[in-house]
């Protein structure tokens, strides 16, 4: 994978990338608190520890490109520029939510930001991302679709159907595997025929095997940007496997106790955010600049939380709305 085509990030870009990662982290921490306080009902899947991926990939995309996320999709949604308040409100089931409370944590969508849905059936969105890419190809736009999924998702049929399909049609789609080593409660390598669940399968579809440090936003950005350039140039799909780790459990209040302590400690030491903080200092940013970014983010999280909490409970008018394109739900005359 040649990175020659990729414009290097300047310090200002990197400060922005830091802001983005830090915001994703603070959002997720607040979402967790709101869950414990019973503001967030149902379930939620946090990306704490994996922020460098959502942030780095978003940086490599154009506003009119498309992302397809999983149920673990808060970070991927926010990274594309969706404001925090409607996402908090969606988690809380409020009328001011991103989808007025009709989707919930696992289905965040903002078409206006190119966030083309978050999907909670493992693997389903890989073929759907192919369809968006096909539409870009057909209409002759140079839009690109990026599809995020986990390591565990590489063992479902839709993954393999989508890869072959994208390869034969040379679709402008990037399959992005966030390998956080664990499915829900099972270690993926224990149930997978190969060591690198995505990268080792790439050659079966004529694709290059690409592995990247998923806790390094610069690296994620650069590799994604190269794949995006390739897709825009009509050279077809790519698959990226990023090694990363979720600091917490799979969902809700899962403490993730099935994981060995040493493993958790090893990955906490590779936390992408303090790491990036250090890198920025080494590259000439001042501590004061970073502190200011953090302060502004924390304030924004507080403001967004209050805005979300102030939202109304969705009313009955929403219940029977938008099953059909005409806005209604009638199935008979």
């Amino acid at each position: 994978m040649s990175l020659d085509v990729v414009a290097p990030l300047l310090l200002d870009d990197k400060l922005d990338l830091y802001r983005s990662q830090f915001a994703l982290r603070q959002f997720e921490k607040r979402a967790y608190d709101l869950f414990l306080e019973n503001y967030v009902k149902g379930t939620s899947h946090l990306s704490i520890g994996q922020e460098a991926i959502a942030a780095g990939v978003a940086r490599a995309m154009r506003p009119d490109d498309w992302t397809f996320a999983t149920y673990r999709g808060h970070a991927h949604t926010l990274a594309r520029g969706v404001p925090m308040a409607p996402v908090f409100a969606e988690l809380m089931g409020r009328a001011n939510g991103l989808m007025a409370g009709k989707g919930g944590s696992m289905h965040l969508t903002s078409v206006e930001h190119g966030v083309m849905g978050s999907y909670a059936i493992i693997g389903a969105h890989l073929p759907i991302a192919c369809g968006a890419a096909w539409s870009a190809q057909y209409r002759g736009t140079d839009q690109v679709a990026v599809c995020f999924f986990g390591d565990g998702s590489t063992n479902i049929g839709a993954f393999h159907e989508a890869l072959n399909f994208a390869a034969i049609w040379k679709l402008p789609v990037i399959f992005f595997c966030e390998n956080n080593l664990w499915m829900e409660y099972t270690r993926t390598t224990e149930v997978t025929a190969v060591a690198n669940p995505a990268a080792d399968r790439a050659s079966a579809y004529g694709l290059e095997s690409i592995i990247v440090d998923g806790n390094d936003a610069d690296e994620v950005y650069a590799v994604t940007a190269a794949c995006v350039a390739r897709a825009r140039a009509g050279e077809g799909p790519s698959m990226i496997e990023a090694k990363t780790y979720r600091h917490g459990g799979h969902s809700r209040a899962d403490p993730g106790k099935y994981r060995p302590d040493e493993e958790v400690a090893e990955w906490l030491a590779k936390d992408p955010i303090p790491r990036y903080h250090q890198r920025l200092l080494a590259e000439g940013a001042s501590e004061a600049q970073l502190v200011e970014i953090e302060r502004a983010v924390n304030e924004a999280v507080d403001v967004a939380t209050e805005e979300a909490k102030a939202g109304a409970v969705p009313g009955e008018d929403l219940l029977m709305k938008d099953v059909w394109a005409n806005g209604g739900a009638e199935w008979r005359n």
Binding site: K102, G103, W134, K321, V323, W331, N333
Partner: protein, 325 residues
């Protein structure tokens, strides 16, 4: 006016819409170069080229996923699932993704797409290539379900389905592919959610769908000579459902019989019976009777398959018995 087969009407309907709208694209297994396993799509590749008419691998999830992704970003795809039984391998995309996403996203997305599929028995293909699956689709909020019974309806309802902004499951009755009918020249565009009254009678109303429509019509002729004068209604579209026509026609005769190819349980006729019982119970002069395939997988042998699917004789006998008791 021309005589067209049901099979030819499919390509005619698709071509009509592809000519008028560049955003209509068509994908599926063996649909392009081979013209479809039932030869229903012959000539489309030649007229519209390989960019708009595309052969796919045997990947039903990829086919329908691609259709969904294309629809949410501005195209109007038509996807083929070769045999309706194969919906089972890609049902997630249909029911969890396509059907739910507009609602879940609070109307941010629309899915103007059509999934065509060869439905039902009669060809001695055995249980895995013969099922009538319209009820699988009918029970899912967010899907429209259309089943034409004549070449004219194939064209008109195909056009309406392609122009519709919602996902439509368009079931072509395999047993009808070879049947013929009159079709006018020029464009034909019908309306979804409109049942057709094919025959007006005074004693009983037979309500049929797809392959069962011509059988209900033949049965009505036989019944007429036996002194039972029947109305025949072709439902044509399960969702949206033209309940007004059905309620009116059942009210008029006071007796309702459904003729359904599906296995017994949860067939569309059960839903109709419930609507009729709820809304016009006091207009009924006798029990509602459902004539269906028994609750079994379809057997392959012609003798057995003929016993299973409602035949003209079975319809006639069932109606006679019920009307005379």
């Amino acid at each position: 006016m021309a005589q067209l087969t049901y099979r030819e009407a499919i390509a005619r309907g698709i071509a009509q819409e592809m000519r008028r709208d560049e955003s209509v694209v068509f994908l599926g297994e063996d649909i392009a170069a081979a013209g479809g396993v039932f030869k229903g799509t012959v000539g489309l590749l030649e007229e519209f080229g390989p960019v708009r008419v595309r052969d796919t691998p045997i990947s039903e999830q990829a086919i329908l996923g691609a259709a969904m992704g294309a629809a949410m970003t501005g195209l109007r795809p038509i996807a083929e699932i070769m045999f309706a039984d194969f919906f089972a391998v890609c049902w997630d995309i249909v029911v969890n993704e396509i059907a739910k996403s507009r609602y879940m996203t609070n109307g941010q997305m629309t899915f103007p797409l059509v999934i065509r599929s060869g439905n039902g028995g009669g060809l001695r293909f055995g249980a895995q290539h013969s099922q009538s699956v319209e009820n699988w689709a009918m029970m899912v909020p967010g899907l429209k379900v259309v089943v034409p019974s004549t070449p004219l309806d194939v064209i008109g309802l195909m056009a309406a389905s392609i122009r519709d902004n919602d996902p439509v499951i368009f079931l072509e009755e395999k047993a009808l592919y070879a049947t013929k009918g009159e079709v006018p020249d020029g464009d034909v565009v019908d309306t979804l959610g409109s049942a057709k009254v094919l025959r007006q009678g005074s004693n009983a109303t037979l309500i049929a769908l797809g392959n069962m429509v011509p059988r209900a019509q033949l049965a009505a002729e036989e019944l007429a000579s036996a002194g039972i004068d029947c109305t025949v209604v072709d439902v044509r579209s399960l969702v949206p459902l033209d309940t007004q026509t059905i309620l009116r026609e059942v009210s008029a005769t006071g007796r309702m019989f459904t003729v359904e190819e599906n296995p017994r349980l949860c067939g569309w006729g059960g839903e109709l019976a419930s609507i009729v019982a709820d809304e016009i119970f006091y207009d009924l002069d006798g029990p509602i009777v459902r004539i269906t395939t028994p609750h079994i997988p379809l057997p392959a042998a012609d003798a057995l398959e003929d016993l299973a699917i409602p035949s003209v004789t079975r319809i006639v006998e069932t109606v006679q018995k019920s009307m005379n008791s």
